[in-house]
Every structure is written in structure tokens, then in C-alpha cells.
């Protein structure tokens, strides 16, 4: 069976499964549509959250990014997992106890203010659209790179699939497709990782191979990697050129940003109680950790293996007769460039230029480097072929990348559609809307959001700054949403004026800083305190907290109803309706 057959086999097979699940899990009420009826099992929700969270970037790009950054890549590993501790301890159980549908619901009702709700809607929409365009672009890249389908056609196929299960099933359909997508993506990630770990270290478990010796040698894998990369003029793998303070700030922005991202928070509204939300956060992190502890191992193996096999290898220009030419090079005491390198060169993700004309590839830091193109995605994509795995595994990795992109896109779509149908229409503009009408608007806005996201995805190639603006998503979530939610739970005295001031401070300061240093003045020498735009959300989070607290202290305390509400959500099972806090919508009790 050829490569194309297997790629089609997995992609069509998994897509068929997603649609079948969507038809089975249709939503019949707004409760189903927004929060999957509040009765998802904590472990199932944990798995869905893991798929929701791990995007095309986590799956395809993260290992490659770490392979190049070495220690500097740790910010992603700690940042994107440590946020779950904050979620479990500070947010998820209390927001579940609060018992409504969306993040702006909490902000609007806790701070008895339509203005606060609308600012939260703006933050949620901005964060989600930034993120979703990147997912759609990932879908287009996977299709055009592997199935020979046009980039835009690929996006349309992806849109079609998400459309079916998001519009029909809402959160309920999304939850169960995300579970299937998690299984596909984790299998596709770990199988090649096990084999590459065996090749490099002889240990089948990547996490153990990471701390083992190189196979058949008496030197640790990381020790050898450090020697090899410094010999070639690169930075030592276990070091970084970023300042400690910047690493600290970026890790912080990613952690607090993760905890404040609306599409992650709303997943915890789908379980039955505060206790279930806590356990569910634990399971989510278990499922995420499976990939996140494998990624740094894959990164180091791939970097070492790449240097071992490609550097100083004799390039075979004519691959029609690869086997005999390779044998001749070996017989002459040389090292032929591996076959997978030749195969991946065709995709444009790898490229070489024989600068000194000796027919041998030199991989170096600096101007003598002959590997002129080395896309970071290659380290995950090419793993199966590097490890000589059969064609069906390579097809599986493509399906895994698509699963990662689609599951994240679906979660973001829920935030976008509920912000419009629930927060904007039902809770702000048309307060006496019926449940049936709201469900109709929810489906329509999900449909509209899919189309808009697709169009944005198609244009990202032209815009070309998707990677740049992801910093916005985490920075804004950390500086604008996280502080008001945490203060709303842990400080009874926090009031409307403080919340509005805090969100606006976080939103405006973070947006301006990132915009200025990404698009106006890109000189790192001018960064405040040496903090890069990726990390600034962490500093402005403290500013936003401080402004919120000061403003709240000089203005009137919140009404008694609100103070009672805060007492209730702290104690599981105590939630009752409280006048102005719940007049727009009754809370859904824990079961």
C-alpha cells in the first residue's frame, strides 16, 4: 500500500468517525448546546479538555521549537501545564458552582454590570479569533502538504467537518468528538516517539530515554547533545540566551493566560459539580502531560539524530537509484544522506545548498551552514520516516495533526457563538428571548463563526503574522480575564467599578505593548525591564490586579446579594438564587 492510500485512509476514517459522533450527540436545548447538559463524566471531560487545549501548534510545532531553543523551550512546557494547577485550585470548581454558561456570564453577574459583561465579551472574542485563525491555517497546511489538495480547499473541508458537529451538537457534539480526537492525536504522537527513543537511547519510554545514556555509548543523551551542538557552534542545549527574568515572565504569562482562556474554562461548566470540576482538571492535566512530557524527549532525540545522520553526509542528487548510490558511498567509507531527508526535501520543509561544492552537507551555526531550510514542524512530521516506520504510521501523524487543529477550533467556536447568542443577544439585547430562539441564534452564530474563521484562515497566508499574534491571546487572558475572575471569587469586597477598571487596564496596556513591540518598534533593546511581548501579560496582570483593588476600595462595596452569592460559590452545594445576581438567569444547581 502506498503512502497516499494510508494518509487518505486515516483522514477519511477519522473524519467519518467525527461526523458519526455528531449525528449521535445532537443538542436539543441551550443547556445541551452550551454545557453538554452539565452531565459529562469528569474523566471524559478531562480527555476532551486535553484535545481542546492541544492545538496544531502543540502537536506539530512544539517539539521542533524546543529542539531549536533547548532550555529556552521550557517556558512552553511549564507555562502550558502549570496553568492547570491554577485552574483547579482557583477557578474551575467555583465557576462550576456559580452555575451558568459562559465566562462573560460570571463577569456580568458577579459585577452586576452590562458594561463589565461586554468588556469580557470583547476579550473572549479577541482571544478566540486570534487563536482560531491559526488552527484553520494548520488544517490548510496539512491538507495541501500531504493530500495534494489546494490550501483553500483543505480549509473548506475542515470547515465543513467542524460545521457539522459544532452546529448540530454544540458543546455536546464537540465533547464527544474531542474525546475521539484526543485518542487519535495521542496515539499518533507517542508511537513514533517510542521508536525514535529506541533508536537514540535504546529505551522504549521517551520520558526515560530523556534521562538515559545514548544507546551503546557511555555518555548521557543530553550530555552528548550538548557536546555535539556546541562543537557545531550552536548554543549549549541545556542553556538559553534569554534572561532569567524574561523566562520567568513568559512562563508566567503563559500559565496565567492558560488559566484565563475562555475556551478552557467553559469545558469545566460541562461536569455535574464543583468536586467533579476539580477531578476533571486533574485528568485533563494527566492527558496533556502524556504529550507534554514526551515532547521535550522527542525534541532532544530529533536534534541529536538529525545531526548524527545529516551532518557530514554525502548528498545523493539523483534519487532514482538511491539504494545503489548509498551502498557505494558506504563502501567508500562515507555516510549517505538519509532517504527521509530526500523525501522531505520535496515538501519544501527542508532545503540545502552545497556552498563549498564538496558534495557533503555541513550543518553549522553561522554562514557556512548548508542546511538552508529547516522547518520546525519537520521534527514531528518526519519522525515516522526517520524511525523507518511503515507508511500507515506516517498517515496517522497527518490525521493526528488534523485532529489537534479541529478539536481546538471547535472549542474556540463555542466561545465565539455563545458570546454572541447568549451574552450579547439573550443577556444584553433581547432579555425575554425564549430558549428555542436562543438555540436557533446559537446555531446560526456557530455557523457564521465557522465561515468567518475559515476566511481568516485562508487569508493568514497573506497576513503572515499568526504566530506573532498568539502572544496577544495569552497576554490578554492573563492581564484582563484572570484577575477579575480570581478577585470575584476570593475577595468579596471586589465591586463593579474595580472590575471594569481592572479589565480595561489589562486589555489596553497589554494590547498596546504587544502591538508596539511587534509591529512598530521591534528592537528588543527597548523592551521594558527586558521583558519580551510574549511575557508582558504577566507584569500587566499585577498592574491590573492593583488597579482593580485600589478602585474597588475607593468606591462603594458590592450589594448584599452579590456578597451572598460569593459566599455561596465558595461552599459546594450551597448555591441559591440571589436577587440582582441571578435575576437575568437562574443558576443551574449541582447534581
Amino acid at each position: 500500500m502506498g503512502q497516499d492510500f494510508w494518509t487518505y485512509f486515516w483522514v477519511v476514517g477519522t473524519f467519518g468517525t467525527y461526523i458519526a459522533i455528531a449525528l449521535w450527540a445532537r443538542a436539543s436545548s441551550t443547556d445541551d448546546f452550551y454545557v453538554a447538559g452539565h452531565d459529562v463524566h469528569p474523566t471524559v471531560n478531562g480527555m476532551a479538555t486535553a484535545a481542546d487545549w492541544m492545538s496544531a501548534a502543540s502537536f506539530l510545532s512544539m517539539a521542533g521549537l524546543i529542539a531549536f531553543l533547548g532550555y529556552g523551550g521550557s517556558v512552553y512546557l511549564m507555562g502550558w501545564t502549570g496553568g492547570y494547577v491554577l485552574l483547579a485550585l482557583l477557578l474551575a470548581p467555583f465557576l462550576r458552582e456559580f452555575g451558568k454558561f459562559t465566562v462573560p456570564d460570571f463577569v456580568g453577574d458577579r459585577y452586576y454590570s452590562t458594561t463589565a459583561r461586554l468588556i469580557a465579551v470583547i476579550c473572549a472574542l479577541f482571544v478566540s479569533f486570534t487563536y482560531i485563525a491559526g488552527q484553520m491555517k494548520g488544517v490548510g497546511v496539512a491538507f495541501s502538504g500531504f493530500l495534494g489538495v489546494e490550501f483553500n480547499t483543505g480549509i473548506m473541508v475542515g470547515m465543513g467537518i467542524v460545521f457539522v458537529y459544532a452546529v448540530l451538537g454544540g458543546m455536546k457534539g464537540i465533547t464527544y468528538t474531542q474525546v475521539a480526537q484526543y485518542c487519535v492525536l495521542i496515539f499518533a504522537y507517542t508511537v513514533p516517539a517510542v521508536f525514535i527513543s529506541l533508536i537514540v537511547t535504546g529505551n522504549p519510554i521517551p520520558q526515560l530515554g530523556f534521562i538515559s545514556d545514548v544507546r551503546g555509548e557511555d555518555i548521557s543523551m543530553l550530555g552528548k547533545l550538548n557536546t555535539v551542538v556546541t562543537d557545531l557552534g550552536f548554543q549549549e542545549y541545556t542553556q538559553t540566551n534569554k534572561t532569567t527574568f524574561d523566562i520567568f515572565a513568559i512562563t508566567g504569562a503563559l500559565m496565567f493566560g492558560t488559566a484565563g482562556l475562555p475556551h478552557v474554562i467553559i469545558r469545566f461548566f460541562t461536569v455535574s459539580s464543583a468536586g467533579a470540576a476539580r477531578v476533571s482538571a486533574g485528568w485533563a492535566l494527566v492527558f496533556i502531560a502524556l504529550l507534554y512530557t514526551t515532547a521535550p524527549a522527542v525534541a532532544s532525540f530529533a536534534r541529536l539524530n538529525f545531526i548524527d545522520t545529516v551532518n557530514e553526509s554525502t548528498y545523493i542528487a539523483d534519487d532514482a537509484d538511491y539504494e545503489t548510490e548509498a551502498a557505494a558511498i558506504v563502501a567508500a567509507g562515507g555516510k549517505p544522506t538519509p532517504k527521509w531527508f530526500k523525501d522531505w526535501e520535496k515538501t519544501g520543509l527542508l532545503g540545502i545548498e552545497d556552498k563549498n561544492g564538496d558534495g557533503v552537507i555541513q550543518y553549522r551555526a553561522g554562514d557556512d551552514n548548508e542546511v538552508t531550510k529547516l522547518d520546525r514542524d519537520i521534527f514531528v512530521m518526519a519522525n515516522p520516516s526517520i524511525a523507518n516506520l511503515p507508511a500507515w504510521v506516517i498517515g496517522l501523524v497527518v490525521a493526528g495533526g488534523l485532529a489537534a487543529a479541529l478539536s481546538t477550533a471547535a472549542g474556540l467556536l463555542m466561545v465565539i457563538s455563545s458570546s454572541i447568542s447568549h451574552d450579547l443577544c439573550r443577556r444584553t439585547l433581547f432579555k425575554d428571548m425564549s430558549d428555542k430562539d436562543e438555540l436557533r441564534v446559537a446555531r446560526a452564530s456557530a455557523a457564521g463563526a465557522v465561515v468567518l474563521a475559515g476566511i481568516m484562515g485562508m487569508n493568514t497566508a497573506k497576513l503572515g503574522f499568526v504566530a506573532q499574534v498568539v502572544a496577544f491571546a495569552f497576554g490578554l487572558a492573563a492581564a484582563s480575564l484572570f484577575p477579575v475572575i480570581v478577585l470575584g471569587i476570593f475577595w468579596k469586597r471586589m465591586n463593579r467599578e474595580g472590575a471594569i477598571a481592572s479589565m480595561l487596564t489589562g486589555l489596553i496596556s497589554t494590547f498596546s505593548y504587544i502591538y508596539y513591540f511587534k509591529f512598530v518598534n521591534t528592537d528588543p533593546a527597548d523592551w521594558w525591564f527586558g521583558v519580551s511581548p510574549e511575557g508582558i501579560g504577566f507584569l500587566f496582570m499585577f498592574l491590573s490586579l492593583a488597579v482593580g483593588i485600589v478602585v474597588a476600595l475607593v468606591t462603594a462595596p458590592p450589594p448584599q446579594d452579590i456578597q451572598d452569592l460569593v459566599e455561596d460559590i465558595r461552599v459546594p452545594g450551597a448555591r441559591k438564587s440571589h436577587g440582582i445576581a441571578d435575576e437575568g438567569m437562574a443558576p443551574v444547581p449541582a447534581e
Partner: protein, 88 residues
Amino acid sequence: MSEPGYKIDGKGYWREVIRLTLSLLVIWFAVSYGAGILFRDLLDNLSIGGAPLGFWFAQNGSIYVFVGLIFYYCRAMNRLEKKYGVEG
């Protein structure tokens, strides 16, 4: 909910929750920002398998501790809820 006439000590419960949360956050901070970032150079003098310890905490170790922290929190909260007769 509670028996009629029995008042849940919500304030006492909440005090204990805060104490638990803060102590777990101290560990959370120590393994990531502490071991993985601030004291990395110091810890890198030690090693686990073949990996410098600080580097390992930043790329693998902290994540294992995070998982342990959340499940410990779940157990401790269940105990607290039972102790104060709060419905979990």
C-alpha cells in the same frame, strides 16, 4: 444539604480551603519558577539519570508534580467537605 437546625461552619471551612490552596501554590511555585528557573543553575550541578536536575525540572519534573498537586488537592478537599458536612 445540612440537617434542619444544623448550621454549616462556612467561614471555618473557607479558612481551611485557603490554607490548603496557599500551601499547594507554594509547591507549585517552587517546582516551576524555583527549581526550573530561579535556582536552575544551582540544581544543574546535580543530575537525574544523565540530565541536569534544574533543566529536567523545567522540561519534565515540574509537570509530574503539577499532576500530583491537583489530585492531592481533590483528596484533601473531599476530606474537608466531609469534615464540615458540606455537600461535594
